[in-house]
């Protein structure tokens, strides 16, 4: 059957008790990825009714670039943040992979290198960067250091849109794809604002991504159980991750070891001297 070229303007089809016949995520209704209470509060919220009505993947970007903070629910009544509402909208639309990747890795200043070239290398660049992290330490310093676009803040011009796409990826995609697409973002050190129950707190994109990969509950959503990285590595689905710190980690480890050894020796000699006394 061909894919329909339209979506419902509201979430009525998604939340229909009598049955749902849209796109599935891991074999179930995407709305079920949010908790029931949160779902209800979202569809009751004014932001949802006014700003999320009739959105498609393109107009969703309009709203997402206006976001000022991420977060789940706030206040005693558990008012959902616009971030959460838009995430729910994305679960309704279930945009195709390319669109989500575009949201995640949109590169705003590519026009500077020339329109055509920029468009083409948007994707190549990200791939190369993935490789870069994999064999970064293998090449070592001999190779001229390749640019890490994430660390420079070049990819994902709109950081809250990027967080939204990352959140969606964590909820909707398969484990291997999640690790492969989200791990490069761990070098994006930009600041983001996060709404908590009562107040705001400052955090960073990489911190948020790390939370997505390791925690089981974030933004008022209990995330589905992601198999740990080590397990996927054992199944040869994933390459072992190379830290962007590269050799520095080994050096730090060695240093630690040396210090520990030195401390041990020192204590031994002390005890010996005490025995002598």
């Amino acid at each position: 059957m061909s894919k329909p070229t339209y979506d419902r303007a509201d979430a009525s089809a998604l939340l229909d008790d009598r049955g749902y016949s849209g796109a599935l995520i891991r074999g179930q209704n995407p709305a079920l990825l949010f908790e029931k209470g949160v779902r209800e509060r979202i569809t009751e919220s004014y932001y949802w009714k006014e700003q999320c009505f009739g959105l498609n993947a393109a107009t969703l970007c309009d709203r997402a670039v206006e976001l000022k903070f991420i977060g789940g629910t706030s206040g005693i009544t558990g008012r959902p943040t616009p971030f959460l509402c838009l995430a729910f909208k994305m679960l309704q639309l279930v945009p195709e992979k390319g669109i989500v990747l575009e949201m995640l890795n949109f590169r705003g200043d590519e026009d500077e290198d020339g329109e055509d070239a920029g468009e083409a290398d948007g994707k190549i660049e990200t791939n190369r960067e993935g490789d870069d992290q994999k064999n970064g330490s293998a090449n070592g310093d001999a190779d001229a250091k390749k640019r890490d676009l994430n660390a420079e803040g070049k990819l994902g011009t709109f950081k809250y849109l990027r967080c939204l796409a990352a959140f969606y990826i964590r909820l909707a995609w398969e484990p291997v794809a999640i690790y492969n697409t989200l791990e490069p973002l761990l070098t994006d050190y930009r600041k983001i604002k996060r709404r908590l129950k009562e107040n705001f707190s400052l955090t960073y994109v990489d911190q948020f991504i790390d939370d997505l990969l390791t925690k089981d509950r974030i933004c008022a959503t209990s995330l589905w159980k992601l198999p740990p990285r080590s397990q996927l590595e054992d199944l040869d689905l994933l390459e072992p991750r190379e830290s962007p710190l590269g050799d520095e980690i080994d050096m730090l480890d060695e240093e630690d070891e040396r210090e520990r050894a030195a401390a041990r020796q020192g204590s031994e000699s002390e005890s010996e001297s005490q025995q002598k006394l």
Binding site: G54, L55, A58
Partner: protein
């Protein structure tokens, strides 16, 4: 065509009242109808194969358009301090023009913004305004274009932004003065209209489409 009649007139003379058929047009029409029937029969067959009852799809109105996202936020503050003409009968129920948010397409009045927005999203309103309630799915290319446009807009906004504090203060002062001038002008207009003696005339001229007196 036909031979001239005995009395010099073409055709039978007495058969002019008969309808003359355009054969080609009718052939096209017949072909269309047959195609439609064949299609329906096919759908009927498919529905039967799938174990469903076939229901003919209701015809789509010509001017039906797809629902689109709201391009701007609904501004409630613009209603503050406005006077509204209402009929005494409109005080009860939603029907007709009354005090509150008025929907011209459905002729309904709502007392608060939640009710109003729910109405704007409702099937009733969508049908009344000729919308399908369906949104076109965006392609990757559209999303990319959109993001480029948003980036350009953000860049332009950044360029126009004034960082210097003094310049900002001056800009703010100018804006405030312009607003004060506008208010003064309106007040004077009102006073002049009142002086003419017909104080109702002034009020009635500015009645907007939704019953709000400007």
């Amino acid at each position: 065509m036909s031979k001239a009649g005995a009395y010099g007139s073409t055709g039978g003379g007495d058969t002019d009242f008969r309808k003359t058929w355009d054969r080609e047009e009718m052939a096209v029409k017949a072909k269309e109808r047959e195609a439609k029937e064949r299609e329906e029969a096919k759908e009927r067959y498919e529905a039967k194969a799938a174990g469903k009852t076939y229901r003919r799809r209701a015809s789509t109105p010509e001017d039906l358009r797809q629902t689109e996202a709201r391009s701007e936020r609904i501004d409630w503050s613009k209603m503050v301090g406005k006077q509204t003409l209402t009929s005494a009968a409109a005080a009860v129920g939603k029907r007709g023009k009354g005090a509150g948010a008025y929907c011209a397409a459905c002729d309904l009045t709502f007392k608060d913004n939640i009710q109003y927005i729910e109405h704007l999203n409702s099937k009733q309103h969508l049908v009344a305004t000729g919308q399908s309630g369906e949104v076109k799915r965006a392609t990757l290319e559209e999303v990319r274009e959109r993001l480029r446009y948003l980036k350009r807009k953000a860049d332009e906004a950044k360029r126009d932004e004034v960082v210097d504090v003094d310049a900002r203060l001056a800009l703010g002062r100018e804006k405030m003065e312009a607003e004060a001038e506008e208010r003064r002008r309106k007040r004077n207009e009102k006073r002049r209209a009142k002086k003419k003696g017909d104080d109702n005339a002034m009020q009635w001229t500015g009645v907007g489409a939704n019953g709000v007196i400007a």
